[in-house]
């Protein structure tokens, strides 16, 4: 659906919802809607990104299809969110990445894994690749330390810059500025909302996912993914500190902070992404758009793949498979990194920005 249509449809639907308001107990979207009488394009983009797609309002809606008013808030907002993801991508030439996103991210990842493996075999002899390495610096004997640091530093800077500029663009296109948006108390409040996934609670009983029944299952799986991701991030950070400041290069013993954090995080990610994938197969497709299925599934599979290869690497690190696994794992991580601003991951900064804006608006109402 072209941008103009999805904005127009969102405006039509919000006008109906604002005359009804039965759903105001489900989430943040409807109380935010009630602060307005008319809806600018900026308002609609903001509301669409505030929506967590819990679907409570779809099953509760007396105007849901086949009613002639054809109100489907989660689907309408999913379409508009997707247009936002495409519209705010920087650099603009890469906006095409969002079209057929599942396919493109998958290809990108495969390419990145293949390149890493080919480079490994191109530059290292088979004795090194298939050798058994142990003790300090084992990984770096296969792939040089400096190369790893260089590649990931460049990638991190690139990814952060793209996500930040996209988020600034998001703020601008939803009618605010980074200055107005930066409100310490509201950021704290939004952080709490995000860490709890408050709006996947559907007013206390969970969301209507995968089907019409209320359930907390999606929230728990999402928690596993999020906290698993954060644990892996923490593992990497601790490892970097060990390496740079304590002169203790990887690999680390099983009972060390980096390995424990990474293992628990990896298991969380496997369970969380696996669970979400299973739910996605079973979900009622009516309250969402088929446009984003590829994007969602690929992102989950990519996280699943990197956690799986990471855990395998841990288990098999003192076998001849280590060299190839390391290349495959790092290739996967590179794919994940590069695709972060161009895929499902981007929902996180936009959702957070919308939550902060919501906290600001609602606290003003309280005054």
């Amino acid at each position: 659906m072209p941008y103009v249509d999805s904005i127009k449809e969102a405006g039509r639907v919000m006008t109906i919802c604002n005359a009804c308001r039965y759903c105001e107990g489900f989430c943040a979207v409807f109380p935010a809607m009630e602060l307005r009488r008319t809806f600018s394009d900026q308002d609609l983009r903001y509301l669409a990104n505030l929506c967590h797609n819990c679907r409570g309002c779809y099953y509760a809606c007396q105007y849901a299809p086949p009613h002639e008013f054809d109100v489907n808030v989660p689907r309408t907002f999913a379409e508009l969110r997707f247009e936002c993801y495409r519209g705010f991508v920087r650099p603009r030439v890469l906006a095409e990445m969002l079209r057929h996103n599942g396919f493109r991210v998958a290809i990108l990842t495969v390419l990145s894994v293949v390149c890493t493996v080919m480079l490994l075999f191109g530059f290292q002899s088979p004795e090194v690749v298939f050798g058994i390495h142990s003790g300090e610096g084992a990984f770096y004997r296969v792939i040089p330390y400096a190369l790893m640091v260089a590649v990931f530093s460049v990638l991190a800077v690139f990814v952060l810059a793209v996500i930040l500029s996209g988020t600034v663009e998001f703020l601008r296109k939803t009618g605010t500025t980074p200055g107005k948006w930066f409100d310490f108390r509201s950021i704290l409040r939004a952080t709490a909302d995000a860490l709890q996934l408050k709006y996947l609670e559907g007013g206390g009983q969970g969301c209507n996912y995968p089907g019409e029944r209320f359930s907390m299952i999606r929230r728990w799986f999402h928690h596993l993914v999020f906290y698993g991701f954060m644990l892996c991030f923490a593992a990497t950070t601790v490892a970097a500190i060990y390496d740079h400041f304590l002169q203790r290069p990887a690999p680390y013993p099983f009972l060390s902070w980096p390995v424990v954090l990474g293992t628990v995080g990896g298991l969380f990610l496997l369970a969380g992404t696996g669970g979400l994938l299973v739910l996605k197969r079973r979900m009622d497709p009516a309250p969402t758009t088929p446009q984003t299925t590829g994007m969602d599934v690929t992102f989950l599979m990519l996280l699943f793949f990197t956690s799986l290869t990471g855990l395998l690497l841990l288990v098999l690190r003192e076998t001849p498979a280590m060299g190839s696994l390391l290349a495959v794992h790092l290739g996967g991580v590179v794919g994940l990194f590069i695709s972060m601003p161009y895929g499902k991951f981007i929902h996180a900064p936009y959702r957070f920005a919308a939550l902060v804006r919501n906290a600001i608006e609602q606290s003003r109402q309280g005054d």
């Binding site: 109906i16 099953y59 007396q62 009613h67």
Partner: protein, 473 residues
Amino acid sequence: MVASNLFNVTLSQTFDVLVIGGGNAALCAAMTAREAGGSVLLLECAPRHFRGGNSRHTRNLRYLHEHASAYLTGPYLEDEFWEDLLRVTGGRTNEQLARAAIRQSANLGKWMEAHGCRFQPPLRGTLHLARTNAHFLGGGKALMNAYYAAAEKLGVDIVYEAEVCELEIREGMFISASYCSNGTSRKVRAKTVVAAAGGFEANLDWLKEVWGESAENFIIRGTPYDRGRVLRMLLDSGAKAVGDPRQCHAVAVDARAPKFDGGIVTRLDCVPFGIVVNKHARRFYDEGEDFWSKRYAIWGRLVAGQPDQIAYALIDSKSISLFMPSVFQAIEAPSIRDLAIRLELNPQALEETVALFNRRTRVGSFDPAILDDCRTTDLDPPKSHWARPLDTPPYCAYPLRPGITFTYLGLSVDESARVMLQDDRPASNIFAAGEIMAGNILGQGYLAGFGMTIGTVFGRIAGREAAQHALRG
């Protein structure tokens, strides 16, 4: 067993309780009867998507409670409840049944929650009713979803798209019912029957019998499935009627609303802030007689009494933000003349009406929160409050039609929800609950969330009594 279509239900068996209808009262009856140990078949004439009758358009339920809770801001006791009911009905109520409904509504919230209902805490949109009425999280359709899930889990057999087209009743005794589904007719036997199939407000032919051809211009706010077939069959089989067949609850809705099922969003709350004219561009009633919450329910009948059953609410830009946003855009124009042209009214007549109104408007201090002193002098009809000259373009208009919520004619029942026969004996195995018998208690007027109270209380009574009767043999 959950029946998604009629073929899954074993129709050769004799059910203990047959429930006709699929709204709040029907589900309360079905769940209660099943919990009492009876086998229950529920026939809903709507398809699954539109199940739940008018209950799917509701939002809250009024019940007796001694203490505030997470969902109710203060106590609501029998005396006040009864006074409220007396006030709105002008005394046209059966006190015995009304008091039964009130008393047995005590702490209904607990029972509802035990059957899947979720309430929401008082929020911006619900504050004015927050002490007396508990609001369903997500509204009436969410409540219906929860009840259907609970009923299925309890083992109630449910058939959708099953309209009962024949009742076999011999000397006041129910024998069997036939229902039509997908063009075929099937007969089902049960020891008892609960009629919970609503009123006849969606039956235009029946409405025309009462209102004449003008009913053609009525809008039905709720379900198109309340055609009154069960009500008519029972009345024809010797059940005693209650309630004024000429009365219905009607509000003014946007004339652009769909013919059926437009629900809450088609209402218009702008009347007290402007003027209302008919197709001859003349005013016909005091728009500012009282607060809108106390007057909205008379405007359906007022509009129904105007030529062609159409009226137009006019405001100027001073008032555009004073009422709940409505679903249809206002018709806008830079002048009264242009507005008349857009509404296809006589421009000169409308200009004269507005000019006269403006001249006779006494400037006071405007305050929508109180019965203020902005009123007209020497004008017929007057406008008693919130009268301000229409002088600030752009001017806005909303076309109005009568929107019927429900009808009052129903089945007379006793305290055990048994249907009374014309010789004033209660039928032994025929029960009624919900809108089909609400006329016993609501002779006229309406009390927000009280239809759901009657449906829940009498649904439970009917379910319990029917199961008891069936299981006694």
